[in-house]
Structure formats: structure tokens, C-alpha cells
């Protein structure tokens, strides 16, 4: 069975006990994203701060309804990017997107993706890639909006 390769323990742990879940104030931008295939949805808030002229992810908070993959992915993402400079978080986001598009052929870089390497199994299932990306896409959108506001 390949189920365990998709649903690695890290994913199931984050699903059962999601980190950073629940909407928090203050925030600079809030977005609502939906997966139109299944109706899964996430509302996500981003708060940025300026550190020596560089934007840094101060906080990411979210409320979501969805499957184990989308829930766990949002949880792992928030762990990964809170506290990181936006530029570095965008690099991580790009690495995760490339991992998801790899159809299971790419060896993920644990140095960049940390717990998010657990989603490598998901990339073999095209129908589930959108689930894994739902939170990430919401974060990118919210961050872009927050940066615009800042400018």
C-alpha cells in the first residue's frame, strides 16, 4: 500500500493538531481562497513587519475547512515561514510548488522545506496537489496584498 507514503506521520500529526490555526489580530491583509473542485476553503491573514528595511513575516493565521492534506499543509507552512524574511519565505514557497509539480520524481531539499518534505508523496496524486497548495497560494496572495498596502 502507498497510503503511508502520502499520509506520512508528520502530515497526520499536523492534521490532528494544526499549528497557528485560528484568525489573529493584527493583520495587514486577509484573503479567502477556495478549491472549486471540493469546496475546501481557507481564510488567511498575514502580518508583516519591517526589519532594517526588509519585510519579514510577523504572523500567519488562518481558519480553514478541508481535508487532511490541505489542513496539514497550512499548518506546516505557517511553522516554516513565520519569522522569516518575505524573500526567503517566497523561495520556500517556490520550492514547495516545484516539489508538488514533480510527480514524485524530485528529491526534496530538507534544508529548505523541513517538515514540508513530507508532502513528496502527495505530488504523485494530481488530484491532491491543489489541496496541498491551497494554504500556500492564499499566503502568497495575502502577502502580495500586504506588500502593496505597505508601499
Amino acid at each position: 500500500m502507498q497510503l503511508e507514503s502520502m499520509y506520512q506521520d508528520i502530515i497526520l500529526d499536523h492534521y490532528r493538531n494544526p499549528h497557528h490555526k485560528g484568525l489573529r489580530d493584527p493583520f495587514d491583509a486577509e484573503v479567502h481562497h477556495v478549491n472549486p473542485v471540493c469546496g475546501d476553503e481557507v481564510t488567511l491573514r498575514v502580518s508583516l513587519k519591517d526589519v532594517n528595511g526588509e519585510p519579514v513575516v510577523e504572523d500567519v493565521s488562518y481558519d480553514s475547512l478541508g481535508c487532511s492534506i490541505s489542513q496539514a499543509s497550512a499548518s506546516v507552512m505557517s511553522d516554516l515561514i513565520i519569522g522569516k524574511p518575505v524573500a526567503e519565505a517566497m523561495t520556500i514557497s517556490q520550492a514547495f510548488l516545484e516539489l508538488m509539480q514533480s510527480k514524485g520524481t524530485r528529491e526534496p531539499d530538507e534544508g529548505v522545506l523541513e517538515d514540508a518534505v513530507a508532502f513528496v508523496g502527495v505530488s504523485k496524486y494530481p488530484a491532491r496537489i491543489k489541496c496541498a497548495l491551497l494554504g500556500w497560494m492564499a499566503w502568497k496572495d495575502a502577502t502580495a496584498q500586504a506588500m502593496e498596502v505597505a508601499q
Binding site: 497510503l3 490532528r16 478541508g66 492534506i69 496524486y125
Partner: protein
């Protein structure tokens, strides 16, 4: 595998897809016929034969292949008409049920005696597939008409208590499913049509989930329009049917225009052929029509009463088997009364996507999500659901495998 009503073993031998292995070398257990059915060799042969032996543009040319193609296409129309107890000139071939609904919704917003005006009302239901919902929203946006809808009860039945007041003198059309693709609910279309006709409204029934699964006689049904898709009834993709009462089709302007549907074309303007050709521009899908006719012949040979009885037996079994599993809630009617073979359910603590993923690992194909019926899911208080749907080739053993698979998913996610 022989049921009381159908020789399922013999039927399965006609479906090549059912013989293949899927994930983990498991045999395929296909419980997603509500999305699309598998296709028997008889249909595949008919499509292939049309291309190999009779490939030409129908209704054109003076050569033998052209005549044969025209005969195939018009023969398919006659076969479909007989299947519905309709007249051939009341059967319009479309791309699918979705296009058929759009054709009618467009005709009702174009100039003519059927044109819907601002202040008129369009009545639909909360149970509809998006295909029988969004086109009516769009019609109302175009015309200024008001969209109203019948609610769904907690049990997943259509609430028809207020039918008399919901259909008013201003109601121009009532569009209602003839069988829900989620809950399997079969609304009382004949009763709805009777009330609608008393008030001067016309009725469109969405037969995408009913025509493949039960005998449908358009006169008994009472609807003025009936739409359905070939691919859900053993036939090919890319062809569907709009049945329309001749007098209404005659009053309708064309939807898509071009070749094949015209009478006389001048640079200034054109006139159009009578129905059904008025609604079939371009070279038609001849091989697909031949495939659909083969599917209808296949179902007719089985007997639609037998098909319905077989599915009722599978549905009863599934309802019983799922009821026994703690943490599983069936959406929709709890019995097979006025209910077809689509069984949607939710599993406590396990998202439908995850249920579907686990079942897929076991070789069981189901649908997960909102099944293009988002408002219905909201009305039933769920985000999404898992749906098993049955057809002529499914067995009671497969229903048991589904129940075992759900239990396995519950154990996997630690909820069972």
C-alpha cells in the same frame, strides 16, 4: 454475481474497463457511474464501425457514405425517441445535458413568444446540479426575471409543501432535477408539471441521472423539456439530448448558428430549418450518435425495469451497510422509496478527499467533493461528501467492499 434482475456476470464481460487492475494491482470497483458510466464493447464497436465504414458528413453530399452517415445519425435519433416514447422531431442532439439546458435558457431570453421578461419568475430547486442552476441564474441576470427556488428538507427531499404558492402566474419556467446526483432523491416531477401547467409555466426536467437508470416516458413525466447526457448511460462523450415538445421547439429561436441549420442565407439575413435541425449547426457527431444508439439498444435489451430493480437492490444494500458503520451519515433519503442509486455520505472526522484516497488505494472509485451541487451541500449542512453511485455492472460484493473500505479509512485516520 447474477442478481434477480440482471445477469451481472455476463454484463461485466461486456465492459473492458472492469477487467483491468488499478492501484496496488487491485481489481477495479467502479462506483462512480453518476459521474460517467463505463462503456460496453457494443458501444465501442458502434463508434468504431461508424468511423471505419460510414465516415462522412451527415445531411450533405450525394455519395453513399454520406447517405449511410445520415441514416446512422437519423436512426440514432429514432432510437432515442422510441426509448423516451417521444417523436423523432422532438429529439435534439446537443453536446451534453449542460448544453441542452443552456439552449433552452438562451431561447427563453431571445425575442419570441417564449421570451422571459423583467418581473417574470424562474423557479428552480436547491437540489440542482450546477448545470441546471447557473444557466437559470444567468437567464435571470439577462432578462431581469426573478430566480426563486424550492428548498430541500433535512432528509434531502424536495420541499413541495408550498408548490402552489411558489409557482405563480408570473412563473415562466420550472427547472427541476428528475433525480438528484447527490442524494438520489427523485422529486415528484409529474406533480410539479401539473401545477406548473395549470399556471401557464413550462417545465424542464434534468434527466442526467434518471434516464440512464429508470424507464422514462416523456408523456407520463409531464415535463416539456428533458435533458440528459450519453456518457452517463453507457454511451460516448460529446453527445447529449434535448427532448422538447414539438410546439415549443417550433417557437424557439436557434441557439448556436451556422451550417446545417439554415433554410436560406442571404447577406442581410437568414431563415432557419424547423426543429430539430434548427438546433444542430455544423457537422453532427455521427459516431457518437451511433454509440448512443448502441447504448440505448443495450439498455433496452436489459430492460429498464430490470436496470432500476437491480440498482434499487444495490442501493438498499448500501443504505443498510452504511447505516451499520458508526460515524457515517447518509445524505438524503434513508430508504429506496423515490430514490435512485446515488448514495452520498459523510464520515465523522475523515474528510471526503481522504475517504476517497483510501478507497482508491483499495481499487474503489468514488466521487468526492460537492459533486457540482454546492447549494445542496450547504442545505444539508456539509462542506463536501463522498458519493458511491451504482449501475448495471455493480455487484453486492462491491457494496460490501465499499463498507469495508470506509471502516479501513476510519481505522487509518484513527476515528473508527
Amino acid at each position: 454475481m447474477t442478481s434477480v434482475h440482471l445477469d451481472v456476470e455476463a454484463i461485466r464481460a461486456d465492459f473492458p474497463a472492469l477487467a483491468r487492475a488499478v492501484r496496488n494491482d487491485k481489481p477495479l470497483i467502479y462506483l462512480d457511474s453518476g459521474a460517467t458510466s463505463q462503456k460496453p464493447v457494443q458501444v465501442l464497436d458502434a463508434v468504431r464501425s461508424a468511423y471505419e465504414q460510414h465516415n462522412a458528413a451527415a445531411h450533405r453530399g450525394t455519395h453513399l457514405l454520406g447517405e449511410e452517415a445520415t441514416d446512422l445519425y437519423e436512426g440514432a435519433r429514432a432510437t432515442v425517441a422510441a426509448f423516451l416514447a417521444a417523436r423523432p422531431d422532438e429529439v435534439v442532439f446537443t453536446k451534453n445535458a449542460t448544453e441542452a439546458v443552456n439552449l433552452v435558457a438562451y431561447a427563453l431570453s431571445a425575442p419570441g413568444r417564449l421570451q422571459v421578461q423583467a418581473g417574470d419568475e424562474v423557479l428552480i430547486t436547491e437540489m440542482e446540479h450546477h448545470a441546471n442552476l447557473v444557466p437559470w441564474q444567468q437567464l435571470c441576470e439577462r432578462t431581469g426575471a426573478t430566480l426563486r427556488w424550492l428548498d430541500v428538507t433535512h432528509e434531502g427531499r424536495l420541499d413541495t409543501d408550498d408548490l402552489d404558492s411558489m409557482i405563480t402566474g408570473r412563473t415562466r419556467i420550472v427547472a427541476v432535477t428528475h433525480q438528484s446526483n447527490v442524494t438520489g432523491t427523485i422529486p415528484p416531477v409529474a406533480e410539479i408539471a401539473r401545477v406548473a401547467h395549470e399556471k401557464g409555466a413550462i417545465v424542464l426536467a434534468d434527466g442526467a441521472q434518471s434516464v440512464p437508470h429508470q424507464p422514462v416516458d416523456v408523456t407520463a413525466l409531464g415535463a416539456d423539456f428533458l435533458v440528459f447526457s450519453s456518457h452517463k448511460m453507457l454511451g460516448p462523450y460529446g453527445i447529449g439530448v434535448l427532448f422538447g415538445r414539438a410546439e415549443l421547439l417550433e417557437a424557439m429561436p436557434p441557439f448556436l448558428t451556422g451550417g446545417s441549420m439554415i433554410e436560406v442565407v442571404r447577406m442581410e439575413s437568414s431563415t432557419f430549418l424547423p426543429p430539430p435541425q434548427r438546433f444542430e449547426p455544423g457537422v453532427p457527431a455521427i459516431a457518437e450518435a451511433a454509440g448512443l444508439a448502441a447504448a440505448v439498444d443495450y439498455l433496452t435489451a436489459l430492460g429498464m425495469d430490470n436496470v432500476a430493480a437491480h440498482e434499487e437492490s444495490l442501493t438498499a444494500h448500501a443504505l443498510d451497510a452504511l447505516r451499520e458503520i458508526g460515524g457515517v451519515r447518509i445524505l438524503g433519503p434513508d430508504t429506496t422509496k423515490d430514490r435512485g442509486g446515488a448514495v452520498a455520505f459523510e464520515v465523522d472526522g475523515v474528510h471526503p478527499h481522504d475517504v476517497g484516497q483510501v478507497l482508491d488505494e483499495l481499487g474503489i472509485a468514488v466521487r468526492t467533493g460537492h459533486h457540482c451541487a454546492w447549494p445542496l451541500h450547504r442545505a444539508l449542512g456539509v462542506q463536501a461528501s463522498t458519493r458511491a453511485s451504482f449501475y448495471v455492472y455493480n455487484t453486492h460484493d462491491e457494496v460490501d467492499a465499499l463498507a469495508d473500505g470506509i471502516r479501513y479509512a476510519q481505522r487509518f485516520f484513527g476515528t473508527g
